[in-house]
């Protein structure tokens, strides 16, 4: 029969452990057994600890049951606690019980291997609890006094640990009077034991923070009687003549009914704060550096600042290479330039070890085999930290001083903080680099690979991407010949940059092209494009769009885009400011007026994006004025005009994209000569040019139509039969001879009669005269018909 009274409380035991434990306890004469959840058990203890003789708790992993035992100890240190762990965790659990601080007098570890003995063991523990309580009654009749006794509140193992801890610990009573403190706390508070014991803790700090500390201590604990609350504040305490930052954590330990003790933990965070301050200095650099896409430039700037901040001569960044087994020296300062690109195996040498273990390393004295390593040649001391992003190692950042030096915690913390930023910057720069490349590729793929070959029409185009620090822009241009012989040209500028802008640009370019092919005039095409942009919610853009008519006119419309520049054959230049409308995507139901301008042979028109003309701090009017001035008196030709505008307008370090498209109306001459590919697609061009030439030379509509059909037949025969598919070409010549128009089609193949059932018949029916000359060198077809106008009509 038990000599000591009290209940046995089982806390959180699994059923297959609780049942044998209960059976064993009953067998040992302990029938008062309760099965409680942890919170219920603690509440019972707080209400009346004396009713409980022993606690049996479950430790699923090392620590869980021990933490509960610590909480029990805060309420009653005499109460025995048995911590049961599953057999595979029993060893770790027993070790935790052995070494954990703040445990009660009697905490034992047991394994599920000993289940048949568990009941007996717990019964024995309950007896021991009774013994301690009896002894306490005898020694000290005041039930709670012992917890206010500093010698007993941090007793035994815990006391030893705390006395030598690298942080300060101070125990206060419920009134905030200092009961005990360790050496580190005394140092931080700049007090000695004789002086301080018995004084209020808040009196020991400076008067300026006294109120804060008092409130802090009072606020710790909260309402939960069994809870430990930690509150933090940073104090600047004047210790040994130097301001130090001390972080206070206040833990209030509650016993039944009232506050029993308060433990204040003091942590000297001066070094950490200093490192943070130095980091702050560097932060501006890294933040600025993040804006750049050039990784080399970024790393170089960072290394310079690191050398300044840590007062070291050498600094290096090594990045894990594609093999994953080694690192390549990516950037360095203060080392032999011949080291560029050197690789270091992960696991070898100073940096290699850091990479392998992913922990910072310090080497106060470079010696032994390391001296031979080229990376540390000439250096006395080293400090290095791993570069990681999201837990992945990307490299190592290390620094070295030529003199021998003890790098301290402060240096290491700072370097690690910098390294975290460097790693982030590197990964961002890499990502950014990829995006930039993707956007550039996308943009290039969306711009015409080459301008369409429109015989007779002269085009010049320039596309100048912005500077290397600038994301790819959304400028586009496009030239599309229509089946009608008309040619549409567009230029535009998507607001924004990067991948998104490039994608929108492709979308708009394709849209505009589609509307033009459908036959919409420039203004109508822009209106539809605006609907597309508005309803698609796809950004904002400006565009200029025009259609060249072979009859010698241009029809132009603009959407918020700078006006095209028209250069007349005489060299005079003006802006075509009519035909405007709002930028695309700005307002629904916008409409865009067309304006038609004469575009006589020799005239040139320039479409451009604002990157060509804009300058910081200059009004657009002024910029456009410079454009007009630059174009005046330009040498003839589309290419020459493009060159001149770039030369006169573009700033060398311009950072915006600029696009430029010049169209020149073909000069009118007495003869038309075209070299064309032997491809059915060329037939449309033949018709366009022939119509224009004949109209210019005074032919009437019916004559033009007949010539177009007859010439088309001659060319069709060439294309169909002279070569077969391939890269062959043929030549079309048109001339005016004695009031007749003469069309000559030459190829180097063989004419085949009857190849086209109706072709030859049509030619003969439509023309006054048809001759076909067959020779070894090829075939020449002459088509002649009177147009009735004197030679030279319409020629320039």
């Amino acid at each position: 029969m038990p000599s000591a009274p009290g209940r046995i409380v089982l806390v959180g035991l699994p059923a297959d452990v609780a049942a044998p434990a209960r059976a064993g306890l009953v067998a040992s004469g302990r029938a008062d057994v309760a099965d409680l959840a942890p919170q219920e058990a603690l509440a019972d203890l707080v209400r009346d600890a004396e009713e409980v003789a022993a606690i049996v708790t479950w430790d699923p992993g090392a620590g869980g049951g021990v933490a509960f035992a610590q909480r029990v100890a805060r309420i009653d240190r005499d109460l025995a606690v048995v911590v049961v762990a599953p057999s595979e965790r029993a060893e770790a659990s027993a070790r935790a019980v052995q070494f954990a601080p703040f445990l009660g007098e009697d905490v034992v570890a047991r394994s599920t291997d000993d289940l048949e003995r568990l009941g007996m063991d717990v019964a024995a523990a309950a007896e021991r609890t009774g013994g301690r309580r009896a002894a306490r009654e005898h020694d000290d009749p005041r039930p709670d006094a012992k917890l206010e006794d500093p010698e007993r509140s941090v007793a035994g193992y815990a006391e030893h640990v705390l006395r030598h801890a690298p942080f300060g610990v101070a125990a206060l009573d419920s009134a905030g009077v200092l009961l005990a403190f360790n050496a580190e706390a005394a140092r931080m508070l700049a007090v000695d034991a004789d002086d301080a014991i018995g004084r209020r803790f808040d009196d020991l700090v400076g008067p300026d923070r006294r109120g804060d500390v008092r409130r802090l201590i009072a606020s710790a604990g909260g309402d939960d009687p069994a809870a430990t609350a930690a509150v933090r504040c940073v104090l600047e305490l004047g210790g040994d003549g130097e301001r130090r930052s001390i972080e206070l954590s206040v833990n209030r330990y509650m016993g039944p009914g009232e506050a029993l003790a308060t433990v204040v933990i003091l942590d000297d965070v001066t070094a950490r704060e200093r490192a943070a301050a130095r980091l702050h200095h560097l932060q501006a650099v890294t933040d600025a550096a993040l804006g750049t896409v050039d990784l080399d430039d970024l790393l170089d700037r960072l290394l310079t600042r690191i050398r300044e901040a840590l007062a070291v001569e050498a600094a290096a960044v090594l990045l894990v290479d594609e093999t994953g087994d080694s690192m390549r020296l990516r950037a360095f300062q203060g080392l032999d330039p011949a080291l560029e690109g050197i690789t270091v195996a992960i696991g070898e040498g100073f940096a290699g070890r850091i990479a392998l273990e992913r922990v910072p390393r310090r080497l106060p004295r470079v010696q032994g085999h390391l001296v031979a390593s080229p990376l540390v040649a000439g250096l006395g001391s080293l400090l290095g930290v791993p570069l990681t992003v999201g837990g992945d190692l990307i490299g190592v950042l290390d620094v070295g001083s030529t003199a021998q030096r003890e790098f301290d915690d402060d240096d290491q913390i700072l370097l690690q903080l910098i390294a975290d930023r460097v790693a982030l910057a590197i990964s961002q720069a890499r990502l950014y680099g990829q995006q930039y490349e993707t956007a550039t590729v996308l943009q290039r793929s969306l711009l015409p690979q080459r301008l369409p070959d429109v015989p007779g029409l002269r085009l010049a185009v320039r596309y100048l991407p912005g500077g290397p620090d600038i994301d790819v822009g959304g400028d586009w241009y496009d030239v599309t010949p229509l089946g009608s012989g008309h040619v549409v040209l567009s230029i535009g500028d998507v607001v924004g940059r990067g991948l998104g802008a490039a994608a929108i640009m492709g979308h708009l370019r394709a849209g505009l092209r589609a509307y033009s092919i459908e036959g919409h005039q420039p203004g109508a095409a822009l209106q539809r494009l605006n609907d597309l942009v508005v309803h698609g919610g796809r950004g904002m853009a400006t565009a200029a769009h025009m259609e060249w008519d072979p009859d010698g006119t241009l029809r132009i419309a603009r959407a918020g885009h700078p006006p095209p520049l028209l250069v007349d054959p005489d060299g005079s230049a003006r802006l075509v400011e009519e035909g405007g409308g709002p930028a695309l995507g700005v307002m629904p139901f916008a409409s865009y007026d067309d304006v038609t301008v004469d575009f006589p042979p020799g005239a040139r028109i320039v479409l451009y994006t604002d990157g060509l003309v804009e300058r910081r701090g200059e009004s657009l009017d002024r910029s456009l004025d410079r454009l007009v001035q630059a174009a005046r008196g330009a040498p003839p030709g589309a290419e020459a005009l493009a060159e001149r505008l770039l030369e006169r307008l573009l700033e060398r370090d311009a950072d915006d994209d600029a696009a430029l498209l010049v169209l020149e109306a073909p000069p009118r001459g007495p003869r038309l000569e075209l070299d064309l590919p032997a491809d059915p697609e060329a037939l449309g061009l033949v018709r366009t040019h022939l119509r224009r030439w004949l109209l210019e030379h005074g032919a009437d509509r019916d004559t033009v139509a007949d010539f177009v059909v007859a010439s088309g037949e001659a060319c069709t025969n060439v294309i169909e039969h002279a070569y077969g598919p391939g890269s062959a070409s043929f030549r079309l010549e048109v001339s005016h001879e004695n009031g007749d128009a003469v069309v000559t089609v030459r190829d180097s193949g063989r004419w085949r009669d009857g190849a086209g059932e109706h072709g030859t018949a049509l030619m003969r029916a439509l023309m006054d005269d048809v001759t076909i000359e067959r020779g070894d060198g090829g075939t020449v077809v002459h088509l002649r018909r009177r147009i009735g106008t004197p030679d030279g009509v319409g020629t320039a």
Binding site: T480, L482, G483, S484, P680, G684, V709, E757, L762
Partner: protein
């Protein structure tokens, strides 16, 4: 890359109207041939090929029409072509004597009437 011409099919039941717009030359004649043959399904009595909006028709286009007319005649289907006088297509059709093969009309209405009147 720009389509020279486009084809619109209209009408259900016995008569289908195939309206061609644009230019017809060697570059698109084969495509037009396939499209028209697909439209002249056996369940159609007749096909009207409307060339009023054609700006250019050459011998390749004529061959397409001739081929279609012959094929339809074999299948006992009828065909009419709309090509207003003065238009480019009409000039060429007249020159090759296309009216020997199929009815050439001034408008689709006239073509529909002609097909109904014919036995």
């Amino acid at each position: 890359v720009t389509p020279l011409a486009r084809l619109e099919l209209e009408g259900e039941g016995a008569i289908v109207v195939a309206r061609v717009r644009g230019d017809v030359d060697l570059s698109n004649a084969a495509d037009l041939r396939r499209a028209l043959e697909a439209a002249a399904t056996p369940d159609r009595d007749a096909v009207i090929v409307d060339l009023a909006e054609v700006g250019y028709l050459d011998s390749s286009g004529v061959s397409v029409l001739v081929g279609l007319a012959r094929g339809m005649a074999v299948r006992k289907q009828r065909m009419a072509v709309v090509a207003p006088p003065g238009g480019s297509a009409r000039r060429v059709l007249d020159l090759v004597g296309f009216d020997n093969l199929a009815t050439v009309c001034e408008s689709t209405d006239q073509a529909v009437a002609a097909l109904h009147d014919a036995p």
